[in-house]
Structure formats: structure tokens, C-alpha cells
Symmetry: C2
Subunit: 230 residues, 2 copies
DNA sequence: GCATGTGAATGGATTCACAGCT
DNA sequence: AGCTGTGAATCCATTCACATGC
């Protein structure tokens, strides 16, 4: 088994350092990768791992692993390496997924429905509580996995009652700003935006945007160059 | 209207320079952003734009815009700026989306189906030709938009007949490597991988991976720090 | 001896600032 | 005057290499 690693991952155009500490998004992104690696090693029954072994196995750089981890404390033992289970636990805590984060998906179209049922969004610290849509024809239905679609005007109620931490915007571009504002007004502090628009920033609100099309365009660029170049 | 811009976009952990030229993925990603900006400006009837105006409007940096564009030629006029329509056309050509790229989605689960119908994957240079699944119960059906689900053993035939350029992996992690190999064997040179595993690299094959969960974990990290910090 | 944690060195990307053109 | 295109300067991330500790 191979795990997603630093190479050929997503496009980041934000070199903005993370708000509080001096931790960059590149670093936190890698923490997630390390967590995957450790989960795998733990499942294999491995007790201890050195930065060097992790680097070899998962195509990472050992110095970078050590530097990244060192931002959050001294987790290793010189001469030995890292205790797999203990380091994994530390990363889970560092990433704040030791308690469950509740998520509300706004937009019950194809994408919203798919995200609501996506395994990675419904395990190990994340839980989708509901979908919201303003189409009366969709309200009252559920996703295949049984997540209910609720009406737009119940949004803030749902957010409060279910302690929603994260909102996902899966509506067409025009609606994205309205949804974002409504989520923020209801107290949501973190948003994952799938609409290809930039959403106004507010203090205390963290928005991450995922632009799926950009990835295709990047591949197209590569194809074009491969063709032209020979 | 605001367009997705550099700020708060996706996570890139690849600082690998782009294969051929010395063009980094950060640059090509921004070209896509500029293209969106220009499409918007054109729709507003604007004829000309300066790097400074684009920077202001879309929260970019004017020097960076000029540098990025300068990699591909001299598109501007000193004292005037850039001709919106002409620059847009140049970017479309540079990104290789002046001709249609055909796409095959492998995996007709929730995510695959949603991606097959996703507007951004079916417009302006991209076209989804079919879905592939090895579940006989899914074969023969179509997505809501009418994209057919075909059987696994028809894959290479479909790729050849439809001149498929790009493959999308939307299968569970275990199957990703098999799918990737099969796509590459059938001649596909570019792959967008949604499975959270790192896929073996081959020469001449470009793989971009999108890890949706990492974005949630990054938001969770932010929430944790916001909580702790006050 | 072996592996961490870290200051120093390297390598890129971004930004500055201005020469040169319209 | 205004704006592009670009060398120089800055900033940030990655990598190296070693002192420190098990």
C-alpha cells in the first residue's frame, strides 16, 4: 500500500502563513499525510518508526518530517525514533480531530450529495449532520446514506442544535457568498468552499476553497506541453 | 462578483517544477485564475485591463501577474495594459483548452457520478465521455445528466474510440493503483486521482491527486487553534 | 551507534523598483 | 503620464549537516 504523499498533491496558491502560530498550511497539510502514514503503520503492527524510515516508505524527506513535528513538541526519542501510536495520537490532537467536528453541507445537488456520503467526511473526527437546500423538491429527502435534506430557513437552527463547526458550500457560484454569510452569521467559523468564486473574508472565519476545474486545466497544460515537446 | 483567487485556495505540497519548461504548478494554477478573471471582465464588456487593475479587483499581486504572463510571451502594451479578449485567448491556448479534452471517469459511485455531471468538467474545453464501473448492477445505467456507465472491460476500447485524454480515478483507495495502471496502459497520459493514495509515477504520465479530507483536517486545525488561542 | 532536533545553507517564489516603451 | 517586462532584493520553504542525547 502506498499513501498519498507530498508529491503530486493539490495546488496551493496560498503561501499565507496560518493565522495564529507561524505554522504554514504546507506544514499542516503534511501533518495530515503523516497521520495517514502512521495509521497505516499502526495497522501493520509497527511500534516504532524513524523519520528516515517514514521518508523512505512514503517518499518524503526525513528532515522535513522532523522539522514539521518539532513545531508541536518533542515527540521522538533520540537513537530510537517515534512511537507510532503515541505520535499518531499527538497528531490527532494537534489537528483537533480528537473530538468530532460536525459538518453541514449546503447545496444538495450532485456534488453536495456525494460529499455528504463521502467516507472521508464521515469518519475519524468528522460527521456530516445534514444537507441544506432551498429547492422544496429536495427538502425532506435523504442522501443514499440517509443524511437528511433540510430547508434553507432551518439552517441556523440546525447549526446551533447540532454544534456545527464546519460548513461546506456546494451551491452554484452565484449563491456562494450568500451561503457563506449565512453560515458565518450562524456562528460557523470554518468553511470548505467548492464554488469557484472567492468569498469575502471576515475576521475569525477561515475559508478553504477547492477548485476542481483548476486541476483539469493544469493537466491540460501538461498534455499540451507533452504534445508540443514531442 | 468575486472570483476564486490565490488566497485560500487548495493545498499544494508539490513544489516540484513542471516537467518541461521551468513553469511551476503554482504559476499554471494562477493562469487558470487569470483566465476566470478575464472571462468575467469580458462578460462585463471590458476591453482592456492593466495588471494593476486585475490585482486590485481580484486580490492578486500585479508584479506576479506580469511575471506569470511573461513566461509565455509579451501580451501587454506598455502604457495601456492587456487586451482582455486577446489575453484570454492566449491563456486558453497556453492551457491547451482551445481544443476539447475528453475525460473518462472510473468509478460510478457517488463521487464519480457527481464529477461526471459537474459543470466545470463539461464545459469550455472539457467533456466527460463515460463512466466505468466493475459493478454489473451499475453498468448500463446513466448519470442524471445522461453519461453512460460502461463495464470495466470496455475501458481501453472507449479510451481509443473517444480519444480520451484524461482519466479520473474515483474508486476506493484499494483499487486506485489498478485503475491508474489500466488507464496508463490504454494510453492516457493525465490522471486526476481522488483516491487518498499515492499512485506510482511512470514517465510520460502526469497524475494530480486531490485529497478532500486534508482540507477538512486543515480547517479542524484552524478551529482548534482559534479555540485554544481565545 | 543511532536518530532526533535544529542552526546554517540552499533553492524557489514573491515582491520591489525601475528601465524602457507607448 | 502610464504600464509592461524584468533584474535585484526579499521572503519563505526545503534540505543539509551536525551537536545533542538515548
Amino acid at each position: 500500500m502506498r499513501l498519498a504523499c507530498c508529491c503530486s498533491s493539490q495546488v496551493d496558491m496560498s503561501r499565507v502563513p496560518n493565522d495564529r502560530d507561524g505554522i504554514s498550511e504546507l506544514t499542516t497539510g503534511r501533518l495530515s499525510v503523516y497521520l495517514r502514514c502512521l495509521t497505516f503503520l499502526e495497522s501493520q503492527g509497527q511500534k516504532t518508526v524513524s523519520s528516515h524510515e517514514m521518508a523512505e516508505r512514503f517518499h518524503l524527506n526525513s528532515a522535513q518530517i522532523r522539522k514539521d513535528l518539532a513545531c508541536f513538541g518533542e515527540f521522538g526519542t533520540r537513537g530510537v525514533g517515534y512511537d507510532v501510536t503515541r505520535l499518531k495520537k499527538s497528531l490527532v490532537e494537534t489537528l483537533g480531530i480528537d473530538r468530532t467536528r460536525n459538518i453541514l453541507v449546503v447545496g444538495a445537488g450532485n456534488l453536495g450529495m456525494a460529499l455528504a456520503d463521502y467516507t472521508g467526511f464521515n469518519s475519524n473526527g468528522f460527521h456530516i449532520v445534514a444537507l441544506i437546500d432551498n429547492d422544496p423538491g429536495k427538502v425532506g429527502r435523504t442522501s443514499r446514506a440517509g443524511i437528511p435534506v433540510l430547508s434553507w430557513d432551518r439552517m441556523s437552527e440546525v447549526i446551533r442544535k447540532n454544534h456545527v463547526d464546519i460548513g461546506i458550500i456546494a451551491v452554484p457560484p452565484d449563491g456562494a457568498q450568500t451561503v457563506c454569510d449565512a453560515l458565518a452569521d450562524a456562528g460557523v467559523q470554518a468553511i470548505l468552499n467548492f464554488a469557484p468564486v472567492q468569498v469575502k473574508l471576515r475576521s475569525g472565519l477561515k475559508v478553504k476553497s477547492v477548485d476542481l476545474r483548476i486541476n483539469l486545466e493544469s493537466l491540460s497544460f501538461h498534455l499540451k506541453n507533452a504534445e508540443d515537446g514531442g
